[in-house]
Amino acid sequence: MAQVERKPRADEALSDERLRELFREMLLIRRFEEKVEERFRAGELPGFLHVAIGQEAVAAGVMAGLEADDTIMSTHRAHGHTLAKGTHPNAIMAELYGKLEGCSQGYGGSMHLYDLERGMLGANAVVGGGLPQVTGTALAYKFRKQPRVCVAFFGDGATNTGVFHESLNLAQLWKVPALFVLEVNGWAESTPMSQHAPIEDMSKRAVAFGMRSIDVDGQDVEAVYAATREARAYAVSGEGPVFLNVRTHRLVGHYIGDPQVYREKDELAEERETKDPIELLRARLELSDEELESIDTEVTGIVEASVEFAKAGTDPKPEDALKYVYA
């Protein structure tokens, strides 16, 4: 019987020490993305970019709840997920600069970050595109009786694609060990949920397939972690996939440079004031200014170093473009 749970059971509460590590990780993601935005505006980064400022607790909380062998697939907004899965900031920054030292050797860019060694199976630039592959990866784990899960990250916009429905239907039908992490930031690019979905509670879509769904406050890293642990245990036990209905806030535009003409200025300012997951966790941990500054200095240094690393990286030869067309 499908169900929606409001308050997941925190079977393994995070210690303050572990929470501080997650705080550091979230701040690293924030500073990394701010730096990416700065370097993009300076004209140093080709292509176009999407940052997930405001959604750091989802990335950090989910990844903290996974085991090392678990895998993820992400979206066009993938920097945070990839950093939290363990890819070095240098490798991601080098990718954004199109260098061979990048995590996809300069073949992918921001929307196609991959790091197989760390279980990052790819960020996807087609909304919903990775979802059936998560089902298939989890099917392989089931075939091989491996105690692993594959995690799909996607946004509310993706729940309107046909492939979302096909993928969740099949995942539940075959009871594969997958977690479907819906980050409801309320926007499909510039289109608000009121214009793209006739319902507000997206968990209904998963429940319709008979899938277990857990509602999560995505600004609270402890809640995200607890829900992930719960969901993971359920999925690897063979019970089937779990849907995490994570409400979060995109505190920036769809892409870097997005003037956000579609969004109320006051609303955004208020969300930044009250919904910033990093500020919320800082308050929870009662970090002093000195402690904050010390962590900030450290992660900012890492980010600065990643830019230096990337700039010093190797440009691919043009003809290398043909190198990986076929295996």
Binding site: Y107, G129, P132, V163, V325
Partner: protein, 326 residues
């Protein structure tokens, strides 16, 4: 040598691979109890069980996408898309995902997935169950495309597809399933990118694929009765393509006809024509003739259907046009 039908040959390749390799499994619509809409997988559920012979919902995007995911983990899924017309529903996963993972990941990922599909006119299926869309996939870097025409080739090439580390779109033709042919005692893999000369000749080369291979052989018989010696070449795989064998043949015969059931405009014959004119320009004695279907969605009534798609007579007429030019 034993004889198998084209249908049995497909089944034999699948079953042989599944007997020796736990990583190979099949999934698709109606493939289990029913044995597939063309009967290709009949009996396989009984031998391999429902875990490895998986009936799926009618969800083409998820069928291909799930296959990609399992392939990314090193399994070797063979998914069936019941009619190639329904490949249109899975295009996103095929074109944007399967074909591109390897490059986008900087060589980290492999997608050893085979997508079997079939189609073809000749039984009044109407416009949505009879298209020949192979040329669409030849346009996508990262995919491979096979279109075998004999039992021996379909068995050997399907084996090679399963064990290829790249996504392969594997075309079968509905009207070829009952055709019998000799096959080697032991399954012999057939490499991609190797054409087969189906019949040797000296006056014209007909490059044919799918159902048009037997049609072209028939046309060649008739041409011979009129004193024209026809070479029939089946590329067997369209991507990669054995350009060398094609050019060599036309350099010998000095004339060329391409033949496929797909509509002529933008069809694979256009690519073949480009290859031939570039590689054998100085050898050509006549313009290259293209044989294919007329440019229309396929009409239902048998008389219209038969008029739209090409047959041996169309190939023969094209052969004669090339000979008349010299």
């Amino acid at each position: 040598m034993p004889e198998l039908t084209y249908r049995e040959a497909v089944r034999d390749a699948l079953s042989t691979a599944m007997r020796q390799d736990e990583d190979v499994f099949i999934m698709g619509e109606d493939i289990a109890e029913m044995g597939g809409s063309m009967g290709v997988t009949q009996g396989m559920l009984a031998e391999f069980g429902a875990e490895r012979v998986r009936n799926t919902p009618i969800s083409e995007m998820a069928i291909v996408g799930t296959g990609i995911g399992a392939a990314m983990q090193g399994m070797r899924p063979v998914v069936e898309i019941m009619y190639q017309d329904f490949l249109t529903l899975s295009m996103e996963q095929l074109v944007n995902q399967a074909a591109k993972h390897r490059t986008m990941s900087g060589g980290q990922l492999k997608v050893p997935l085979t997508i079997r599909t079939q189609g073809g006119a000749g039984w009044s299926p109407g416009a949505q169950h009879a298209q020949q869309l192979e040329s669409w996939f030849v346009h996508v870097p990262g995919l491979k495309v096979a279109y075998p025409s004999t039992p021996e080739d379909v068995r050997g090439l399907l084996w090679s597809s399963i064990y290829d580390d790249n996504p392969v779109v594997f075309f079968e033709h509905r009207l070829l399933y009952p055709l019998k042919g000799e096959v080697p005692e032991q399954l012999e893999p057939i490499p991609f990118g190797k054409a087969r000369i189906m019949r040797e000749g000296s006056d014209v080369t007909v490059i044919a694929i799918g159902r048009m291979v037997p049609e072209s052989l028939e046309a060649a018989e008739q041409a011979e009765a009129e004193g024209i010696s026809v070479e029939v070449l089946d590329p067997r795989t369209l991507l990669p393509l054995d350009e060398e064998a094609i050019i060599r043949s036309v350099q010998k015969t000095n004339r060329c006809v391409t033949a496929h059931e797909a509509v002529t405009r933008g069809g694979f014959g256009a690519e073949l024509t480009a290859v031939v004119q570039h590689g054998a320009f100085d050898y050509l004695d006549a313009p290259i003739e293209r044989v294919g279907a007329k440019f229309a969605p396929l009409a239902f009534a048998p008389a219209m259907e038969q008029w739209v798609v090409p047959h041996a007579a169309d190939v023969l007429a094209a052969i004669k046009r090339t000979v008349a030019r010299s």
